[in-house]
């Protein structure tokens, strides 16, 4: 896979989102169930940041705390310890009145459809509209449009009793999204749906995310919808065990796999390497490494050009997709050259220990490196 420069531009641009614009900021969040001797910790010091427009899929075995985290973010549980901010409002110790107001900006889609049996599909969705005091005449076309979009056009005025499980779930989804909330939280939204309607639902999620900047957090085991995720968060035993920005990892992987030692790695190991790489930016003329220094890092150029200078003399220049800094790490020697940014340059940086552990596991690597170094001269 060759990554085009536009994807890289986007990636670099959004690398460090402004913390003030984050939709969800979880910091050092702990949670306990029960009291006294029965008190049991279910969330351990979790940290998670989610930007507007981001679609996050949260997976993990049952009992790992995904739903607890989801309901905490959704203000459906009281925050006990740590910080949890949604839409710049700290939930810890927030007054009941403010919580009620905040909930109006959140769309919740539950595993169970939770529809009123006594109300039609239309009326169930309208219950959400009534909250923001919309006039019936304004709400009606919107409700009909959403229900039609979800394939329920013929059944708008049916009671839940006359709808299939999947249809009921779609009504619940319509109810969750009708007010165009800033944050949509969904617990297994597609579990009851067939492939086609599940796809329709996630497509709608994507549209909402891109059109309204709505943040969507989905707890799911449904691997059919993983492709819509901007980020996949994995939880195990109350900890976030991995938090991967899918697009970012894929882009980094496509760049770093050019390096011989990395091309042998399995996809998951490569992703792990990609995730442990740090982005560093350099101004024009700024030295990236200095000849004679101790080598501690390995660089892959994401964007830009660099000059390689040995003893004050420019010997080569490298561009995006190229790498440098490996020789000192392999041979445990000081840097044999200086590298200067020729224009504003961004590099992915891997530290020495990570780098060495990958090298050591790669049998053919040393030969290749020697060849590569030879070719360069």
């Amino acid at each position: 896979m060759k990554t085009d420069s536009k994807t890289i531009d986007e990636l670099l641009e959004n690398w460090d989102p402004d913390p003030d614009s984050l939709r969800v900021r979880v910091n050092g969040l702990q949670h306990y169930y029960g009291t006294g001797d029965a008190r049991k910790q279910v969330l351990f010091n979790n940290t998670l940041n989610i930007s507007p427009g981001e679609i996050v899929i949260m997976t993990g075995p049952s009992g790992s705390g995904k739903t607890t985290l989801l309901t905490l973010i959704g203000t459906l549980r009281s925050v006990q310890e740590g910080s949890l901010k949604i839409m710049d409002t700290e939930l810890l110790g927030l007054s009941a009145k403010s919580i009620v107001e905040l909930r109006k900006n959140i769309g919740f889609i539950f595993q169970a459809h939770n529809l009123f049996e006594s109300l039609s599909a239309y009326q169930n969705v309208r219950m959400a509209c009534e909250l923001i005091h919309r006039k019936e005449s304004e709400a009606k076309p919107k409700i009909e449009q959403v229900l039609t979009r979800l394939g329920l056009g013929e059944r708008i005025h049916y009671k839940p009793k006359s709808l299939s499980g999947g249809q009921k779930q779609r009504v619940a989804i319509a109810r969750g999204v009708i007010n165009k909330p800033k944050l949509i939280l969904a617990d297994e939204p597609t579990a009851a749906l067939d492939a086609e309607s599940g796809r329709e639902v996630v497509t709608m999620f994507q549209e909402l995310a891109s059109q309204t900047g709505c943040t969507i957090l989905i707890v799911t085991h449904d691997n059919r919808i993983l492709d819509v995720a901007d980020r996949i968060v994995n939880m195990v035993d109350g900890h976030i065990s991995s938090n991967v920005m899918v697009q970012r990892s894929a882009t980094i992987c496509s760049i770093i796999r050019e390096f011989p030692a990395f091309s042998e790695l399995t996809a998951s190991n490569l992703t792990a390497v990609a995730d442990s790489m740090e982005l560093r930016r350099f101004e024009t003329g700024q030295p990236i490494i200095q000849q004679g220094d101790v080598g501690t890092e390995f660089f892959v150029i994401a964007k830009g050009f660099v000059d390689i200078v040995i003893d004050g003399k420019r010997v080569n220049s490298l561009q995006s997709g190229d790498y440098f800094g490996e020789v000192a790490l392999i041979k445990d020697q000081p840097r044999n050259a200086t590298v200067l940014a020729k224009e504003p340059t961004s590099c992915f940086v891997l530290d020495k220990d990570e780098f060495r552990s990958i090298i050591d596991s790669s049998a053919t690597f040393e030969d290749e490196v020697r060849q590569a170094i030879f070719d360069r001269q």
Binding site: V100, E101, F110, N114, F116, S118
Partner: protein, 391 residues
């Protein structure tokens, strides 16, 4: 726009609604039953006074209740008659004895037995009764040994007193003397009396010789009618003129005093109030069950509303609406059923079972309060809990 969730939820399942409404109606009937019998006691006891045509009543100061046989000298009535503003002052003689009636031209299956009866004697020349029925039969009462019988007297006396064809030829025994039933009137039994006879003071004197050498010289009640004067003013005048051996009150004061005696000085009032309270408590339990079940059945849906941002006040008004709907829906059949029971009880007991608007309103109020209390208990969990714990 507002979706009437309370109404929808309650009426969605018709079978559940029927059970819920029956439950509330049951509590309504229980309360009506208790207040009904309590009122029947009071109404029946004072019915004799209500049927008199008078403004002020004189009686022995020691007479704590109508049924206590404490009398006063007739002289006081004569004294009252001379007071300015008094149109008439009439004695009413009341006594209890045993009567036995024979229906001569009927093959009644019930063998008549002697039973206690209340006898009311009055001066035929005075209009003592408000009842046109009695007043139109005054002439018949001039015959010696004649009397009118209360149609609501116990059927156990021997026959149906509302069957006019049986009245004429019927005779009976009163204090070992013959008595002839010449007609009927309507008054009603109470807890102490199984039936009533009305007769002239002369006939009364003949039967009740044991009351003294001149049985008509001592009186049970003195009934005073005024002319062009308010009852209270008349009462004050008479009270000032008569010695303190007698009590002088207006007719409505007399009724209140009698009701107050039964209600406060006897256990009866308390017993019925406890009964009403029990009905109320049973109602709360039933309503709580209904509303708590309804909330529990819809807990996930309500929690979803809570998650959407519906406020606690919304849920309060929701439960209040459900309580009000339930109380009204339960009250209507409860009232109808109670009216039937009142009718049936009145027929069976001869008691006066009155359903007045204030009494129905009282029970409606109690029903609404009952449902509201239940509703508030039932919704505590919904209000207090985090939505996440409700799914």
């Amino acid at each position: 726009m507002k979706t009437p969730i309370a109404w929808r939820n309650l009426t969605h399942n018709k079978r559940k609604l029927l059970i819920a409404v029956s439950g509330v109606a049951f509590a309504v009937v229980l309360m009506f039953q208790q207040t009904g019998f309590e009122n029947a006691l009071f109404d029946s006891t004072v019915e004799i006074v209500k049927q008199t045509d008078c403004d002020v009543i004189i009686f022995n100061r020691a007479r704590f209740a109508l049924s206590s046989e404490l009398r006063f000298k007739r002289d006081y009535i004569n004294m009252a008659a001379g007071i300015k503003g008094v149109k008439s002052a009439s004695p009413l003689f009341i006594d209890n004895t045993i009567a036995l009636f024979h229906a001569t031209n009927t093959q009644t299956a019930v063998k008549p037995k002697p039973r206690p009866i209340r006898v009311l004697g009055f001066d035929l020349n005075h209009t003592v009764w408000a009842s046109d029925e009695i007043n139109s039969q005054i002439q018949k009462l001039r015959t010696p040994d004649s009397a009118l019988i209360d149609r609501l007297s116990k059927p156990e006396f021997g026959f149906q007193f509302d069957d006019q064809s049986l009245i004429g030829p019927s005779t009976g025994e009163l204090l070992d003397s013959d008595v002839e039933l010449v007609g009927t009137f309507k008054m009603g039994r109470d807890f102490a009396h199984e039936g009533n006879l009305v007769m002239s003071d002369r006939n009364f004197a003949n039967y009740f010789r044991y009351r003294g050498i001149d049985p008509l010289s001592i009186v049970d009640l003195g009934l005073i009618k005024g002319q062009g004067i308010a009852a209270e003013e008349l009462r004050n005048r008479i009270r000032a003129a008569l010695p303190s051996a007698v009590t002088v009150v207006t007719k409505s004061e007399f009724i209140d005093r009698e009701v107050a005696f039964w209600s406060a000085s006897t256990p009866i009032g308390i017993i019925f109030k406890i009964g009403t309270a029990m009905g109320f408590a049973v109602g709360i339990i039933i309503c709580y069950q209904i509303l708590a079940t309804d909330i529990a059945d819809h807990l996930s849906e309500l929690a979803t509303l809570k998650a959407m941002g519906y406020s606690d006040n919304y849920f309060r008004s929701l439960v209040i609406s459900e309580s009000l709907i339930l109380s009204i829906l339960g009250f209507i059949p409860g009232l109808i059923f109670s009216l039937l029971i009142f009718q049936f009880s009145a027929d069976m007991t001869g008691l006066i079972m009155l359903m007045t608007i204030p009494r129905a309103a009282l029970i409606l109020g109690l029903t609404v309060i009952m449902c509201l209390i239940s509703g508030f208990i039932a919704m505590r969990k919904l209000i207090a809990a985090d939505p996440a714990s409700l799914f």
